[in-house]
């Protein structure tokens, strides 16, 4: 009982933290970044997708798109609530930024974030109509599934729990996209346009797993905030996404 242990060695040994009272400063900062990245990506993703609802070809698709917008916004709120326990002003956070803002379609930003929010770079690109949105949603949806499987194991329990609750619904979004894409791919006339969307989004989604940074990864791993490298996650995604595209007669990037 009398054993003393630093929080750092507790975390390195797989320890779990449960409240803001005793997280070390650097852990706090990295945890906040992780949460901000998720919240900003969900808010930006939902905002971009909201415009697409009106492009949906039928009622079922309209409902699916509206549901995705609703649920992604709800997921942002859940994680923002955890940020709020660390002092973030949640009301101001959600409204301080134009989440619909996008760059031109051909902007060359690789994986760099914009100056003003932490959304993954891929969410800075605009969607071009329904089919393009469905393709993006399938590719990014599968990426989110892979990333959430990783982040559902973070060492901050309230966040891990939020991600565990969110994961199955995000998986459902990817599945809705897959069903939508199957319908579109059944039309031979659509093929070229769909393949062009796949070619556009594939490298951009692939880049969202981040560049290799061994030192950074080691630090995050010691804090229990990461287990797999970005490269390992990307490989997992490539395998899964490729299989799904090929089943629909499309070629992966």
């Amino acid at each position: 009982m009398a054993e003393e242990m630093s929080i750092e060695s507790y975390l390195a040994a797989g320890g779990i933290l449960s409240n803001p009272a005793n997280v070390p400063p650097r852990y706090r900062a990295e945890l906040m970044k992780l949460m901000a990245t998720f919240v900003d990506s969900e808010l930006a993703g939902a905002a971009g997708f909201a415009d697409i609802i009106n492009d949906a070809p039928g009622l079922k698709e309209r409902i699916a798109a509206a549901r995705i917008v609703l649920e992604k916004t709800d997921h942002a709120e859940r994680v923002l609530k955890v940020m709020g326990e660390f002092g973030a002003d949640t009301a101001r956070y959600a409204s301080h930024h134009p989440w619909t803002a996008r760059l031109p379609r051909d902007a060359d930003i690789a994986a760099t974030r914009s100056e003003h929010d932490m959304r993954l770079a891929v969410f800075n690109y605009p969607l071009q109509g329904w089919a393009d949105a469905v393709v993006m949603n399938l590719l990014m949806g599968r990426a989110v599934v892979v990333q959430l499987a990783e982040f559902a194991m973070v060492s901050y329990q309230p966040l891990a729990e939020a991600f565990r609750a969110i994961a199955p619904r995000e998986a459902r979004h990817a599945q809705l996209a897959e069903e939508g894409l199957a319908n579109l791919a059944a039309e031979p006339a659509e093929r070229d346009a769909l393949q062009a969307s796949v070619d556009y989004w594939w490298p951009r989604v692939a880049a969202s797993f981040g560049a290799a940074d061994t030192r950074k990864f080691a630090a995050l791993k010691a804090m229990g905030l990461r287990r797999s490298t970005g490269e390992e996650l990307r490989t997992r995604w490539v395998g899964e996404a490729k299989a799904r595209l090929e089943a629909l007669g499309l070629k992966a990037g």
Binding site: M1, G15, N19, A21, R26, M32, Y93
Partner: protein, 357 residues
Amino acid sequence: MARFHDLIVTDLHKTIRDAVVVTLRPANGAAQDFDFIQGQYLTFRRDFDGEELRRSYSICAGKDEGILQVGIKRVDGGAFSTWANEELKVGDRLEAMPPMGSFHTELNPEAEKQYLGFAGGSGITPVLSILKTTLAREPKSNFTLVYANKGVNTIMFREELEDLKNQYMGRLNVIHILETDAQEIDLFTGLVTEEKCAQLFRHWIDIENVDTAFICGPEPMMLGIARALRDHGLDDARIKFELFASAQPGRLKRKAVSQGAASSANQATASITLDGATQSVTVPKDQTILDAALQNAMDAPYACKAGVCSTCRCRVLEGEVEMVANHALEDYEVEKGYVLSCQSFPVTDRVVVDYDQ
């Protein structure tokens, strides 16, 4: 943002020599704000020699007792816990934020579950709240508590647990593990380690049928128990953790008094520490500390850049900065020298900031 409310001490009693159980009543109609969930904690604040200290203590009352009660064990050199044990009296006022924490699972009166709780020392407080509430609200569920202490006379709530065992005959099982006092069964002496858990799971605890486990104790104990539970098939979604580190951040020294007044030059030197490394950089006085760090290839943390999220928090150790917006830090953090680096511009010619504190 959470606000502090006044609570009045209505009862105080020692559960062991070094720990006091404090019963509180919210003042000024704040009762609703203190409608807690079993296993949650309260964060108190109090001024010691002009410096605000905040400490979190778990609620030990069950939901159905109709009272708000926390257990505070005195820790060596702990200003707040010593004060609470030695000077606090009935009628005093304490300031606390509404209950927080997610160390609980949802209860369902129809459920027939097997719960397993591990508590080390004062880690019993939230587990006690959970087990009392669970036994009352899930009449078909059972609870096993493994409770680690130094010796018999340091067991908090020992009599209360005996009473609960009698009240919930056959539904509450308590295994005391004592570090130094010998017991009839050898296995019950020593520390609660991974190996000890594995032995308990062999003959004393039906681990295969456990639905959810709760652990609250010091770090090494939590690690050992968690490993043993995972080894026996419980995934993290079924293990609830609550850690109040033995070393909650201590008293922080105030920042050094700034040297020399601000000069008219529009350049400052900033010494910035991040991940143990310190860089000295030149910062124009119209550039934020964060941007200065980023421009010099330091991987300084930030997210919103609007003073809202507090990701970029750092501490000013020397010199002055001007924080132009702050929607995230509270007054007591600012008093200790914390600033949002995305909103902070150097005022003095030299500033020293640290992201590691």
